[in-house]
Amino acid sequence: MTKSLDLAPRRAATPSRYATFMSRRASLMPTFAAVAILLVLLISAQARFPKFLSPGNMSALLLDNAYLVVLAVGLTFVILTGGIDLSVGSVMAFTGILGASLLAQGIPAVVAVPAMLIAGALIGLLIGVLVQYFNVQPFIASLAGLFLARGLAFVVSLESIRVEDTFVLWLQRTRFNVGGWYITPTGIIALLAVAIAFYVLLWTRFGRTVYAIGGGEQSARLMGLNVARTKLMVYVISGVCGGLAGLLLTAYSGAGYPRNGIGTELDAIAAVVIGGTLLTGGTGYVLGSLIGVLVYGTIKKIISFMGAEQAWTQIIIGALLLLFIVVQRVIVTRSQRRR
């Protein structure tokens, strides 16, 4: 409205450092919240169980959940574009049993491992094509992927298959020790995935297009960004991560098992949301997803330390997820009202 009600000068003195910080980093707030929650959990756990923060325990925290880290990384790409991928748990199981089966038949790891990644990529490609070129809702498309992967897992084998391959076992058995801390190659792979994703999302045009699609697909297209190819690729990435997670889980458990990962996609989605990525897309950080997985793992560990049933993990994660979603919704309605 062109009423002149405001006679005060519009631009105040140079904005405070706080204001500048907020205007540059506002979207980091949810991730900070996740870090805060993690610290609170760790500290209260240490208070309750004096041995909690031991190097051994903390190292195990990452390595027990390495597969989930990788899944969350892949999911972050998809969710940033405003989509969702329900198939990741099943893809993990499928590629895991596929790899185990190939190895058991004597095929060398140098062939089996890439095969796992390619299998994951193919399922991701299928979902991406359905979403991008046939305008299928991501929910339904990834549902088809879930069905397909789960069924194929059982086609490969109805029972679990042990893995004897030296390379795969080396991934999990080897430990690099520094003081009391240790890390295995699986852990390194997981952290590497995070690092690569971080780099891509921040430093490449592809990564910024991912964010742009989440911010407004039409606007991104108008800006000349290649929306179609990017939307397709994020699902392929999620599929590859599913394959990678299959490798890590198979190494971890020493076997492929077609019943793996039932419901794991939910844990991964929860980790990503808790880590500060909005399910509506456009905002979020892959480092946040890493934090989210650590939160999940910490809760699981605390529950086991307490001797309580593992079922509590799911309930608490569900409650945390709800809390984050409600807060996100309140923030959104508040900012809409202001507009």
Partner: protein
């Protein structure tokens, strides 16, 4: 500064949607370094013209020349590459990314295939400084006000060698200082030879900034004018025009309302940002017209009176009882019904049949348990189809396939089936052919004769005068005056709607005391 050759020239442009022409044989031109305004009421064809220039829709007939050469844009991106950029009302940027990215993405600086952030920030800072703007390139766009986001959108446009910049309603959400800032930037750009198409319904701003004005009405070109040679009142008259009044019009209604207390009354009705401190009252059997230009607050007032939007301040009384209209459902229970100006999105449910549309509100009012029997629904639908002459007279036809006029009748049938006491009609005759227009006007008259109270909004002043007993004139979100319609002519109403201060004779025309707080 004028060069003899126009920078952008549109000749004989026609765009059709189905059988109707959104613009018909329109000529339009812009010279480098000028600010050109495109004016017209809703449905005049402005947005179609803009879409044709910016590549969003193709021309069915006609030719577009840029810099003398014929161009054909297939996508908005083509237009952008050719130097025609648009800043829309809903900013087409990415609020979750930084200002620098919003300016540079799509042609961002890269080093070894990787984004060069510092170079991007420098470039953004340079562009912003060029426009005299002090905005932090590393800040996230969404944290800034709409005004700033708009300026960033303009910055993006000029960072890519723009020749023609289209600004679509850029000032709707800006305050005075922000508008001044925008105008400064615009003048800056014109110094460099950029042609700016300024689309706005704020007359004062158009007169302040524009070098030339093109007026559209009903999809056709009315003319191209220079502001200094065109009186405001003449501009408004060209925009609104005079409609054909010969088709069996009703006698002008008796404007002395009965001496009973008002059926509905609103005092201090406020809903920011649309309407401020408005006072209206309506007697039984009376038709109150709301007249004003786009953005004057007519729709906001109507929605506030019918419970569609909650009031920020003010009281509404129905038959003397103050009511709190918290929802449309509540309003309906008090006998107040509303017909939205967005017939397609807020009125008719296109996928449902005519019958289902007509019976919807009545069924909702009766509740879930008291379902209307199929025969009863059929009867009701058929009787309304007949009474309002809805064509085609097929109750099972999908409502979305009907013409605008018949859709409006279906909507009216739905509302009238509720036996309301007060009916608020927002632009009921917009986009409807003349014959149907008159039908609806006559219908309004009949309803009033039968004791219904009607609030009638229309951009066509002649229609308002023909239908209403009294007219409330709105400007900039306030009711300026409320006058009996017999004391007004189309010219005097035009003057009130446009700008009263210049015309002292109008002030003496007002015989009734103004309702509410006038200026």
């Amino acid at each position: 500064m004028e060069e003899p050759r126009p920078l952008l020239q549109l000749t004989g442009a026609t765009v059709r949607f189905g059988a109707e022409a959104a613009i018909d044989d329109v000529d339009f031109r812009m010279f480098p370094g000028e600010v050109h305004s495109l004016m017209g009421e809703n449905g005049a064809g402005k947005s179609s013209l803009i879409k044709a220039i910016t590549g969003a829709i193709p021309l069915d007939e006609g030719e577009l020349r840029l810099g003398g050469e014929v161009v054909r844009f297939r996508t908005p991106h083509d237009a952008q590459l050719a130097g025609v950029s648009t800043v829309y009302q809903e900013i087409d940027l990415l609020p979750n990314l930084t200002v620098a990215e919003n300016i540079c993405l799509g042609r961002e600086p890269r080093r070894f295939g990787v984004l060069d952030w510092s170079s991007m920030r420098t470039r953004a800072r340079a562009v912003l400084a060029d426009l005299g703007l002090d905005i932090d390139p590393a800040s996230i766009l969404g944290t800034h006000s709409l005004a700033v986001q708009q300026l960033v959108a303009i910055a993006r446009a000029i960072s890519a060698d723009v020749r023609v910049l289209v600004l679509d309603e850029p000032t709707s959400s800006l305050d005075v200082d922000e508008v001044a800032e925008l105008f400064r930037v615009m003048r800056d750009l014109t110094q460099r030879g950029v042609a700016i198409l300024f689309v706005s319904h704020f007359l004062e701003q158009v007169y302040e900034i524009c070098d030339r004005i093109t007026v559209l009405r009903g999809g056709r070109l009315v003319g191209e004018y220079v502001p200094s040679e065109l009186l405001r009142i003449d501009l408004v008259q060209k925009m609104l025009g005079r409609s054909v009044a010969e088709l069996g019009t009703r006698a002008r209604p008796d404007s002395t309302p009965p001496e009973t207390s008002p059926v509905i009354r609103g005092e201090g009705v406020t809903r920011t940002p649309g309407i401020h401190n408005a006072g209206v009252e309506l007697a039984e059997g009376e038709v109150l017209g709301l007249a004003g230009l786009l953005g004057s607050g007519r729709t906001e007032l109507a929605r506030a009176l019918s419970g569609i939007d909650r009031l920020d301040a003010g009281i509404i009384t129905i038959s003397g009882q103050p009511v709190d209209l918290t929802s449309p459902r509540k309003a309906i229970s008090f006998g107040v019904v509303y017909s939205s100006e967005n017939r397609r999105t807020e009125g008719i449910i296109s996928e449902l049949s005519v019958q289902e549309n007509i019976t919807l509100a009545l069924q909702a009012e009766r509740g879930i348990l008291r379902r209307m029997r199929p025969q009863r629904r059929r009867e009701l639908a058929m009787s309304w189809i007949e009474a309002l002459d809805i064509r085609p007279a097929d109750p099972d036809r999908r409502a979305g396939t009907l013409s605008g006029g018949n859709q409006q009748k279906v909507l009216l049938a739905r509302l009238l089936a509720l036996s309301p006491r007060i009916i608020v009609l927002d632009e009921p005759t917009r986009g409807i052919d003349v014959g149907a227009k008159v039908e609806i006007q006559n219908l309004v008259g009949e309803l009033a004769d039968n004791g219904l109270s009607v609030v009638f909004i229309s951009a066509e002043l002649e229609e308002v005068l023909r239908v209403a007993n009294r007219v409330a004139v709105l400007r900039s979100g306030r009711i300026v005056q409320t006058l009996p319609s017999e004391s007004l002519t189309v010219d005097s109403l035009l003057a009130l709607v446009a700008q009263p201060d210049e015309f002292s004779e109008v002030a003496s025309l007002s015989t009734a005391e103004p309702d509410g707080s006038g200026e």
